[in-house]
Amino acid sequence: MYVDVDGYEGPLDLLLDLARRQKVDLAAISVLALAEQYLKFIETVREKRIEVAADYLVMAAWLAYLKSRLMVPQAASDDEPSGEMLAAMLQFRLKRLEAMRKAASQLMNLPRLGFQVYARGMPEPIEIARKSIWEASLYDVLKAYSGQRERGATTEYSPHVRTVWSLQEAREILQRLIGDSFDWVPMDTYLAQYLLSPAERATVRASSFASSLELVRLGQIDLRQTEAFGPLFMRRHKGDAQ
């Protein structure tokens, strides 16, 4: 969770404020003193058990490093930037931030539109008469035509939905009709009432036959046919008697 440290906008802002308290030109500040002040400030804040945002801690670590570079004489073989170089960099960043702050306030002090300078209060809008140019290609026209004719054709040739007996349906009906009858009865007799409609005859027979085979497999009924294309007889399976 980010906790704003006393209303500062980040570590650089805090540093800038501390530097200003030195009451000297930024070019003349003591970076070493500034680093110490910053570290002390962060320490105080942490003692108050205020959580400090990571940015501030990163800066603190960097300043501690800077401090050590400034205080310890550089070895000749040292590849790292000198303390003076780091200090100058920090000074530059502070000056740059301060300059941008100043620029911002100068900007806001300019004669601004709507504050010191005004635009026409009653602008006269330009009326635009929109004229459409319609676009279509021959392909679009042909596609539109074909599409419609196909739509028309399909609806013409699918006039009615046929009743289809599902296998499940046929099986339930057969089980109900055969019931406990152990007499051989032709399938068509059982289905007589459903075979009246010529449109449904085929589906009723086909589904019932398929279901009866399933019922035989389950050992619920027996099937018998005495001759080719002869009537199909069904009865309840004997072994299944109660």
Binding site: Y118, I126, R130, K131, S132, L138, V141, S146, Q148, R149
Partner: protein, 223 residues
């Protein structure tokens, strides 16, 4: 010019500048009284406004009086600057495309005939657009009860779609060949030969007034 006179003209100029700025920035016309409070003491707003009006009389913007209020307005002769025509290309709607294609193949076709092929009622706007674009025209009136208007295509239609004549519209076999029509269509299906010659035997000429922009009224789709 005496010093005094110069001062006075300087003061007048300053007051004129103030009036200009006030009138320019105001979002509504201003009365002389309203503006007077911004002027130097003793200034006569009315007289200054008349002076300002004179100065702008020949400019592109004039100071005009509306009742007892004043405002800057574009000079009347330059009003055309504020009206602009914009041309935008827009694709034809699907309904318009369908209607156009039916008229193209089935012409002369009445609105009822178009609707029969489309399977939906044709909104008034759809035919209007096609008439306005100039691709469709009213040909005549069918000699049947209700005397419905017959529609056909125009030369502009041929021109736009790059056709030399209606005979160039692809027929059934060509539409099938190009894949636009499927091959599974019933053999009974036919595509008419479009006809855009003179009036047919079952067509009367249009009634006087038919072309005055009024659409046929005999047939309003009930939806």
């Amino acid at each position: 010019m005496t010093d005094d006179a110069m001062d006075r003209s300087e003061i007048a100029e300053r007051n004129l500048r103030i009036l200009e700025a006030l009138l320019f920035a105001s979002s509504e016309p201003l009365a002389a009284d309203e503006m007077a409070v911004y002027l130097g003491e003793g200034a006569k707003a009315g007289a200054l406004l008349v002076e300002l009006q004179k100065r702008y009389a020949s400019r592109g913007v004039n100071l005009v009086r509306r009742g007892d209020k004043w405002a800057f307005r574009t000079a009347e002769d330059l009003g055309f600057l504020l009206r602009r025509e914009s041309h935008e290309t827009r694709p034809l709607s699907r309904a318009a495309l369908e209607t156009l294609s039916i008229i193209a193949y089935h012409q002369p076709a009445t609105r009822a005939e178009i609707e029969e092929v489309r399977g939906v009622a044709t909104g008034k706007g759809t035919l209007d657009i096609l008439l306005e674009v100039g691709w469709v025209r009213m040909r005549g009136r069918r000699r049947t009860p209700g005397r419905p208007v017959t529609y056909g295509t125009t030369d502009a239609f041929l021109d736009h779609f790059g056709l030399e004549s209606l005979g160039d519209l692809p027929g059934l076999d060509e539409l099938k060949g190009s894949g636009l029509l499927s091959n599974r269509l019933p053999p009974s299906m036919q595509i008419p030969l479009p006809f855009d010659g003179a009036l047919r035997d079952d067509e009367d000429p249009l009634d006087p007034g038919d072309l005055d922009g009024a659409d046929e009224t005999e047939h309003e789709p009930g939806q």
